[in-house]
């Protein structure tokens, strides 16, 4: 929770440089995996800005991502709205969704809040299937949704730029006093009020920011995939992958969820040839559990200790 240091900027430049040369280094197949990791990282950052900071654990992030994805998909496919109009509307709608998720946070916290947000996800899962299936595509979802660009390389650059832009702006935002105030809510909400700050305002801001990022991520995601399926989107596995990415990477940081997202995505891909079925998730669960038990502050803390050992600093 310190200020901005020179090595922070050096790390950011290194990160951007690596992402830039990546298509020269890896196959198109790997590039497609990285695209998924980029999107997972965006979702994990969105989750972390809210839950990692304020301690209001959202189990409803697919709800927010889903609003962004569905709004943009429906507008472009059913109403022929151009992408550049549909996507901002999608983000706006997601932020309204963020306010809806925020409302219970006025009264309840902890596991109760988490359960209510889980209910939001279930609710929208049922709603998109029964209400106006001519628009949402019902249970089967939609395909043939307009894509922004074609090919692995350009899609990679699009998702990587999006991730870098979101991560860097969130990082800057969280480096301000606001970041400290949001983390303070996670540590002791009463004391934040007792310091003269309106926790209602702060929480609303956190929900809106989180929804903003989720909306952008959801909209770009659906226009990358070109299809949407409610069962894959409003899925508990999808939800937990987002949360686990943020947690094992390192909650309450920005780089942590990115590392976590890449780690998880590649772990699952690495296991695929050996365990093609759902058994992969067993290994993934074990690895996540062990890592989390060993270092609850995540991979970022492990890397920090490792670096300090290497350089001999304490």
């Amino acid at each position: 929770m310190t200020g901005i240091r020179w090595y922070h900027l050096a790390l950011w430049i290194a990160f951007v440089a690596i992402m830039f040369v990546m298509p020269q280094l890896v196959s198109k197949g790997t590039l497609r995996i990285i695209i998924m990791a980029n999107f997972l990282a965006i979702f994990a950052i969105s989750w972390d800005v809210l839950s990692g900071r304020t301690g209001y654990i959202s189990f409803g992030h697919p709800f927010l991502i889903g609003i962004g994805a569905y709004t943009s998909a429906i507008l472009t496919k059913r109403f022929d709205v151009p992408l550049e109009v549909a996507m901002p509307i999608a983000v706006l709608m997601t932020m309204i969704g963020g306010i809806i998720v925020f409302l219970p946070a006025l009264r309840i916290k902890g596991s109760y809040f988490a359960l209510v947000t889980l209910a939001f996800m279930e609710l929208i899962y049922q709603l998109v299937q029964v209400i106006r299936p001519d628009l949402t595509g019902g249970t089967r979802g939609m395909s043939g949704i307009k894509t922004i660009t074609r090919g692995a390389v350009s899609n990679y650059y699009l998702s990587a730029s999006l991730l870098i832009a979101i991560a860097f702006s969130m990082w800057l935002l969280m480096k301000t006093q606001l970041g400290i105030a949001l983390s303070a809510i996670g540590m002791n909400e009463e004391s934040v009020r007792g310091s003269g700050l309106s926790t209602t305002k702060l929480k609303l801001f956190a929900f809106l920011t989180s929804a903003f990022v989720a909306g952008i991520g959801g909209a770009f995601y659906v226009h990358y995939l070109g299809s949407i399926a409610p069962r894959a989107l409003f899925d508990i596995n999808f939800l937990f992958t987002i949360i686990v990415a943020a947690l094992i990477g390192g909650a309450s940081t920005i780089i942590g969820p990115i590392i976590g997202a890449f780690f998880l995505t590649f772990l699952l891909e690495f296991l695929r040839p050996y365990l093609p079925g759902a058994e992969r998730y067993f290994i993934y669960g074990m690895v996540a559990l062990l890592l989390y038990m060993y270092q609850p502050k995540g991979l970022i803390a492990l890397m920090h200790t490792g670096w300090n050992k290497l350089t001999g600093a304490r």
Partner: protein, 243 residues
């Protein structure tokens, strides 16, 4: 001139229980008033009502003549009244300076984003409550109970408060820590801070207060100088159970 803190006919009922019963008293500018009473007398409930953590059933609470009875806790704090807790509530993963920073922040989100923290002021406040240079980057887990109390007071000072409510400041402290906190309160008194202090440690409280208000079962039973209140028969009875 209006008083920094004025409570008139304050009543708080929790169902059938009357926690505060028609309580009135005031604290004058720069004065320090002790609020005493046996366990369960309703001292902390009075604090909670002044800060807006509990809403009073009836009666008024005025800060510098302004009725604050319907304001939220953060609003009251920005108007200049603030409290510490019997059990310190620090931000556990933050350093001493960062804890103070939260108290110092503007309540506007825009200002939180655009203004830089005032490090000089943070350090000044930390030093003023007696933190050494080496303590500034410690986290609450590394601090003693006495230091945690100081940290509470520092964060309270950082909010810019001019009326400070201290709840059982001496509870759980060593003799040396009590002396430190007492010295700190004396210094702040001479700097013009107005105090309302709840304490069971009457010996430590005596030199720190200009007058006392004694309550029992939520009602005021005595008010006056330390000696007067201590000599009062109903006060002695409430504390000792004998006349």
């Amino acid at each position: 001139m209006s008083h920094p803190l004025e409570i008139t006919n304050l009543v708080k009922r929790f169902g059938g229980l009357v926690a505060t019963n028609d309580l009135s008293f005031h604290v004058e500018q720069g004065q320090s008033v002790g609020l005493i009473g046996p366990n369960g007398a309703g001292k902390t409930t009075v604090f909670a009502q002044i800060m807006g953590e509990h809403r009073q059933t009836s009666g008024t609470i005025k800060l510098y003549g302004k009725d604050i009875g319907n304001k939220t806790t953060p609003e009251r704090i920005r108007l200049g009244v603030s409290r510490t807790y019997q059990v310190p509530r620090p931000f556990s993963d933050m350093t001493v300076l960062e804890n103070i920073r939260v108290g110092q922040m503007s309540s506007s989100i825009w200002k939180m984003i655009t203004t830089r923290p005032n490090h000089e002021r943070e350090e000044e406040i930390a030093h003023s409550v007696g933190f050494a240079e080496a303590d500034l980057h410690k986290t609450p887990g590394e601090l003693s109970m006495g230091d945690l109390r100081k940290l509470e007071m520092a964060r309270t000072i950082a909010t810019g408060t001019s009326v400070m409510l201290l709840d059982e400041v001496f509870a759980g402290l060593t003799v040396a820590e009590i002396a430190q906190i007492a010295t700190l309160i004396q210094k702040m008194r001479s700097d013009g801070m107005t105090f309302l202090i709840v304490s069971h440690d009457l010996k430590a409280l005596e030199p720190l207060v200009d007058s006392l208000v004694a309550i029992n079962y939520g009602s005021k039973i005595a008010e006056g100088s330390f000696a007067e209140v201590m000599g009062n028969a109903s006060v002695r009875e409430s504390y000792l159970g004998v006349v």
